[in-house]
């Protein structure tokens, strides 16, 4: 009997293997609904856009290396600056965090076998790919947007921007907004419904709280952007008058709608970084996070408060004093939840036993630049100071500290941290540390002097500057810093690319990690877990008895759900087991629907309305085919 029992577990995993197997090869990747494969697709696609945005940044810095340069002509400079911002925010950070990290890790962390809506998940990815391609078709055909990532009217109206660049911008952002909304809804439902039975909300990892907060923020923030963009396109294409003062429109309407979206977006960018920090710190200091409930609440509070501060981007446009004072005060309130998290991270590190390996270094670097960026952020809440420094490099310095340093460092730390899980191999530790120092130093050398230049009055967005302003030396230093930064970032990905083939093979849990994903093999099997895991705390991997119990359950064939493509669904708060779900398997419809939508957007751009209507018909036909079959018929 004692010999027969292990064979029993082996037989079950083989059975699950057969049920969940997806076809390999190109067709397998095109029709995949596996959250891990979709996460990997998101990763490489957003990495491509990161590279594109990076090249644009280097071109901008090269142009500004010395006064009166002509590497870029003024028009191209505007295009590079606008495309850089748009790419980094919409096509790199959000897809990388929510798409790649969220997709790959959320189901693993909550003990599920897939996202709540696997085919919608695939659709989100294909729409993201099509929308990004759409924008870059514009860039490569000489129609890059050139009115900044915030695209203010009246500059963005047909009168002043007659070319299709702004239309590429607006339509690609409406397009990717569909993808992001679907992704956010999927993440919320996954977190609320598919947690392993027993993982009540208070036993959920902080990473998931951060992603829950981000997803809710996206659901409520994106419609404001979509509204602003649709109204803009109605004005540009059909002659409506929303932003047109002569016909009763208003230019500040754009700014209000844009920043009602835009400020929550800033927290949408940085909250996943908070989530990643709260995953990496406990593992590398070998203790649980300090003040767990406060940190969870602070993550949610940051997302919530972010909706009440938008007009601090508009202090210079002539708001009423009372309005400006309200928004300044509201902006200062954000310090409280940010401070809670900051002190919790620092206290956890100081009271633990830190191992200063690469992932933790990136998190410590993140904490330092987040403090610096946060401090310069507070200065903007002083309205006269803001009015003095708005549109100078001081602002550029501030937001690169927070949305490059603070938001992207943890993403890179996270890439190092989860690389062994995803690839089954370890990266090169020495190169990992070197890449951190290059990037950290490069980042500060690039962006710190911008504070000083801003205080000295150098305006942002100008394509060049005269030699006698005393700005030349610092600009030269910044440009050198940006090349150093590029070397640092390149060394991250060279390290990982080589390690992918040559790295040392690792087991399930090379770090002594804290959350569930480290209990399954590296890389995880298609079905994630042979047994729906037992969970009794947010640090599930450190509950030895639970993990031993999973092994027993596998032998006994309990909680293995091996009758089909199955996973467990629970109640939203207490995670009591409610039903067994039959999840969809591979489907050709998501990529086809995304293609049909790309057709629709293309013909809207060309203002060919009949062709656009035909593509709506194609979309409906694809949707009908998609919903023809039902789970019980599969």
């Amino acid at each position: 009997m004692a010999v027969a029992v292990p064979r029993e577990g082996q037989r079950r995993t083989e059975r699950l293997e057969r049920i969940w197997k997806e076809s390999s090869g190109l067709l397998g990747w095109l029709t995949t609904v596996d959250h891990k494969r979709i996460g990997i697709l998101y990763f490489f696609t957003s990495l491509f856009f990161f590279a594109a945005g990076g090249v644009e940044a280097l071109l901008i810095r090269t142009q500004l290396i010395a006064p009166n340069q002509s590497t870029l002509d003024p028009a191209t400079f505007n295009e590079m600056m606008s495309t850089h911002g748009t790419t980094m925010i919409f096509f790199f950070v959000v897809p990388m965090s929510l798409g790649a990290f969220g997709n790959y890790l959320l189901p693993l962390m909550i003990g599920a076998r897939d996202m709540a809506f696997p085919r919608l998940n695939a659709l989100s990815y294909w729409i993201f790919l099509c929308a990004g391609t759409f924008l870059y078709v514009g860039v490569f055909t000489g129609n890059a947007p050139n009115a900044g990532w915030f695209n203010y009217v009246p500059l963005a109206s047909r009168t002043y921007s007659p070319g299709p660049g702004i239309d590429f911008y607006a339509l690609s952002l409406i397009f990717i907004g569909i993808s992001t909304t679907a992704g956010a809804i999927n993440a919320i439902v996954t977190i609320l419904k598919l947690r392993a039975p027993g993982m009540s909300l208070n036993r959920m990892p902080l990473f998931c709280f951060a992603f829950l907060a981000v997803s809710f923020a996206l659901v409520f923030a994106l419609p404001a952007l979509t509204t602003a963009l649709v109204l803009l396109e109605l004005q540009r294409m059909l002659g409506f008058h929303f932003y047109d003062v002569v016909f009763g429109g208003n230019t500040l309407l754009w700014q209000n709608l844009f920043w009602i979206f835009g400020h929550p977006e800033v927290y949408i960018i940085i909250l996943p970084a908070f989530g990643i920090a709260t995953s990496i710190i406990p593992t590398f200091v070998r203790r649980r996070m300090v003040a767990f409930p406060l940190v969870a609440l602070a993550e949610i509070l940051v997302a919530f408060l972010g909706f009440g501060v938008w007009a601090h981007h508009m202090f210079a446009v002539g708001l009423a004093n009372s309005t400006a004072i309200y928004f300044a005060a509201a902006s200062l309130v954000i310090v409280i939840p940010s401070g809670i998290q900051l002190f919790a991270w620092i206290t956890t590190i100081l009271t633990g036993t830190p191992r200063f390996q690469t992932p933790l270094l990136w998190i410590i670097g993140f904490i330092i630049v987040f403090i610096l960026g946060g401090l310069s952020g507070i200065t903007f809440a002083a309205i006269p100071f803001d009015q003095q420094l708005t549109d100078t490099y001081y602002v550029v310095a501030h937001f690169h500290y927070v949305i490059f340093g603070a938001a992207v460092f943890p993403l890179i730390g996270g890439i190092y941290y989860w690389f062994p899980k995803v690839s089954g191999r370890m990266y090169h530790e020495g190169w990992g540390k070197a890449s951190f120092w290059f990037t950290f130093v490069g980042m500060n050398v690039t962006f710190f002097p911008m504070h000083i230049l801003g205080l000295a009055g150098m305006p942002r967005r100008d394509y060049t500057y005269p030699p006698d302003m005393g700005w030349s030396a610092l600009n030269l230093i910044e440009t050198i810093g940006s090349y150093l930064l590029a070397v640092g970032l390149l060394s991250v990905f060279v390290n990982l690319a080589i390690s992918l083939f040559r790295g040392e093979r690792v087991g399930n849990d090379p770090w002594g990690g804290d959350t569930l994903e480290w209990s399954t093999s590296s890389p995880p099997p298609e079905y994630n877990y042979a047994v729906i895991p037992t969970v009794s705390s947010p640090y599930a991997m450190w509950d030895r008895e639970d993990r031993e119990r999973d092994a027993e359950l596998l032998e006994q064939g309990r909680k293995t759900l091996e009758e089909g493509h199955e996973t467990a669904a629970s109640t939203a708060v207490d995670a009591e087991w409610d039903e067994v779900l039959d999840m969809p398997s591979h489907s050709p419809w998501p990529p086809l629907l995304a293609l049909a939508m790309a057709g629709l957007f293309t013909f809207v751009l060309l203002e060919r309305w009949i062709a656009a209507a035909i593509f709506i018909g194609v979309m409906l036909a694809v949707l009908a085919a998609w919903h023809g079959g039902e789970p019980q018929e599969a």
Binding site: K193, F240, L253, D578, E579, V580
Partner: protein, 206 residues
């Protein structure tokens, strides 16, 4: 373990009703629709906020001598749409209680009224377009954009109805019951939005 149901396998009317009765939490599909409604409601809020933002930035409203909207017909039509929440609700109740035949008829009744509503609204829309145009000024722009957005939401609801009527005519499954419940909350949302939109539309005359 054995007491946890494989609810997706429920295909007969009785089995579906049993799954519906023992459910302790809303299904994933319900959450998905609830969140879609949240984001769409935010979209309507932005449009209505735009309407009033433009209104308070102008001294004259409607702008440029456009006549104020007439009140009666839009209110009557809206009442018609809101009234369909009744049959939609009854359709869900019947399906949950294992009577898919009755559910089909309630839904068909709702569909007939909703389709009539959309037809009448399109007729009013065309009539308005004869009087003033969205490219006249900002009032015309937001007026037609707001109404057009709502009509598009009604049209999507009608497509969901048609698809459900086709499915329910072939018997009930757990999947179709969830689809029906989800379509129902979509219609409740569209009805509430209709009230908000019509009050905004008629604001100059109220």
């Amino acid at each position: 373990m054995s007491e946890i149901p494989r609810s997706m396998e429920a295909t007969g009317a009785g089995a579906v009703a049993r799954v519906a009765q023992r459910r302790r939490a809303q299904p994933s599909g319900w959450w998905g629709m609830a969140l879609l409604i949240a984001t769409e409601a935010t979209l309507f809020s932005c449009l209505i906020a735009t309407y009033f933002y433009l209104r308070f930035e102008n001294t004259e409203w409607p702008i440029g001598g456009i006549e104020k909207p007439s009140v009666t017909l839009p209110l009557v039509f809206t009442a018609m749409l809101v009234a369909t929440c009744g049959p939609v609700f009854l359709a869900v109740r019947a399906a949950k209680r294992g009577a898919p035949g009755r559910a089909w008829w309630w839904l068909a009744l709702a569909f007939a009224v909703q389709a009539t509503y959309l037809g009448l609204q399109i007729w009013l829309f065309a009539d308005d377009l004869g009087k003033f145009s969205p490219s006249d000024n900002a009032y015309g722009s937001i007026y037609f954009t707001l109404l057009g957005t709502h009509h598009a939401h009604v049209a999507v609801g009608l497509l969901l109805d048609v698809w459900l009527l086709w499915k329910l005519a072939r018997g009930i499954t757990n999947y179709r019951l969830i689809a029906l419940r989800v379509t129902a909350i979509y219609w409740y949302f569209v009805s509430i939005a209709a009230v908000a939109v019509v009050l905004t539309q008629l604001y100059p005359s109220l």
